[in-house]
């Protein structure tokens, strides 16, 4: 009797938790419908925000891939003095409040910032441009990709890379033909996480790039600014972001199950334990 009561209590708590997590999503779709979402695409605010978001996100994620992958590989395969410091630096933006990150970017890359004069000498002004959105997103989202990539690279069996070397493949060929295919699942999962984080970016972007419609106003920013004027548009944009996020979450799950398939080595979910 007492045991049944205990089990019932735990089940009830779990139901409350799951309801708490899903209700906000349900709320969005109760107040809007796919038709309404599509209608809102004729609104210039929504259209502009979507274009800005996609453009900046894609560029930011490309930059994260290009710079993050070699960095993660180096940190995963080499041990050198200052290794754990480097890991900590990679993780820094993860724990920094986004508003602080925005101020940091301004004081580093802004007009009067550390690198401001060198940038202006090159004719580059970053703050309040679309490039600034990309920089803010890349700064805030990159740790999620790099951490996951480090875990994925660490999880690839070092005997397989050794085997590749003894079979006549140099380090570069080994990387592209053995390491990359085996780490693929983890890398895609990392990218999905990083993409999701980038989509939601708000604090750093508004500090460093502002919220200019058609230039720097992303979906997240537009939702905030349209909130008290056009609630329908806000709902539509929210619905859109929910859909994109759902796709990303699905990608993440599939990619991780890939990584954990029996043909490769196992890896912890999100790989967040194996990086330090």
């Amino acid at each position: 009797m007492r045991r049944a009561l205990g089990v019932g209590l735990v089940v009830a708590i779990a139901v409350v938790t799951l309801a708490f997590l899903t209700l906000p999503i349900v709320g969005i779709f109760v107040h809007t419908s796919p038709g309404k979402v599509l209608d809102q695409f004729s609104s210039p605010v929504v259209k502009d925000a979507l274009v800005v978001t996609l453009k900046t996100s894609v560029v930011a994620q490309a930059l994260i891939l290009f710079f993050g992958t070699p960095t993660a590989y180096l940190l995963a395969t080499r041990r050198f003095p200052g290794h754990s410091l480097a890991i900590t630096l990679v993780e820094l933006p993860l724990v920094l409040p986004p508003a602080v990150a925005g101020i940091g970017l301004l004081t580093a890359l802004g007009h009067y910032g550390l690198l401001g004069s060198s940038l202006s000498a090159l004719g580059v002004t970053l703050p309040f441009t679309q490039a600034a959105v990309t920089v803010a997103v890349a700064y805030v989202a990159s740790p999620l990709y790099i951490r996951q990539a480090i875990a994925a690279f660490e999880a690839t069996d070092s005997r397989l890379t050794a085997a590749s070397r003894t079979l006549g493949a140099g380090e570069t060929r080994t990387f592209f033909r053995v390491v990359l295919p085996l780490a693929r699942g983890g890398l895609i999962a990392g990218l999905a996480l990083s993409f999701a984080r980038g989509l939601g970016e708000f604090g750093a972007t508004i500090m460093f790039a502002g919220s200019l419609q058609g230039v720097t106003q992303t979906l997240s920013l537009a939702i905030y600014y349209e909130f008290d004027q056009k609630f329908d548009a806000t709902l539509a944009m929210s619905g859109l972001l929910v859909l994109i996020s759902a796709v990303l979450l699905l990608t993440l799950r599939i990619a991780l199950s890939w990584q954990r398939s029996p043909s490769t080595r196992s890896q912890s979910l999100f790989g967040l334990s194996g990086s330090a």
């Binding site: 069996d157 005997r159 397989l160 050794a162 085997a163 590749s164 070397r165 003894t166 079979l167 006549g168 493949a169 140099g170 033909r177 053995v178 295919p181 085996l182 029996p262 043909s263 490769t264």
Partner: protein, 347 residues
Amino acid sequence: MATVTLDQVAVPLRAFRLCLSLTVDSTIALVGPSGAGKSTVLNAVAGLVKPIAGSIRCDDESWFDAEAGVFLRPEQRRVGVVFQDYALFPHLTVRQNIEYARRNAADEYLERFGIGHLERARPGSLSGGERQRVALARALARDPEILLLDEPLAALDAHTKVDVRAELQQLLGGLEIPTLLVTHDFEDAAALAGRVGVLVEGELRQTGSPADLVARPADPFVATFTGANLLNGQADGTGGGTTGIRLGDGTVISTSDHGEGAVTLAVYPWDITISNSRPDDSAMNVIAGLVTAVTELGNRARVTIGSLSAEITVDSVRRLGIEPGQQAFASFKATGTRIVASKGGKQ
């Protein structure tokens, strides 16, 4: 056939420093307990580990020379490595695994190793024996000057092991490539290699033919490794051409070897006879005790009486009705014993 020479190759390991010289011109097995540095020797030859001193040559080509500052990377040496657990690429098919070593070589090796029907399979779906064949095919497709095998039979269950060992034995016999294999199992080493080196804590204790190591083990370690029972005791003086060794429990063992002071005696399990009643024959040594274990290995069985291990046929176990918990007599001849260490310093 090429000759690979290791000269005073030194690699620091956690607890000790590996240091050895070895000439590989046929099939040689390194045996030793885990952590003895066996795999490190293979890694040094393959170029996966850089030693801190010494040199490694393949005929006239220097692969590593600490003094001259020569170090060829693994891909620059022609070595074929069969890793423990085989290290097949899980994302590639059997054919692609072989072609990784050499393009256009797959057909030849698929046929030679009888794995043509597996060419599209991925390593994850293969049996242990099949994996080994793929690993060997891949290593040989590299056209190596030396073949390195790391614990080639350790990944297999006892049942497949016997078959795969026979297969490997046949293959190595037909290869014109010097081969260095490491194993923790003396029996495997003896079956596969003509020469065996015993590696303990990074140091080669003894090298010789398997028969040599069994007949004349240099020290107690080599003796246990070749499977001998070791009995510690005190030499009790000579009488009638044999030496009496008094063991800790007071039993006196006769040996045809000579020794003084504290000695260690080696007796091989296959030299020990088991009987239900005290035997009356030429065997000078009889130890009575309780049977503590009977382990069957194919058609042979290991019978443990006290601290002694005897090897007899399963047929005999059945015939005598030997079971754990029973009283039995283990007997062996004085000529079946070897003094492998004594305080007097017979090493």
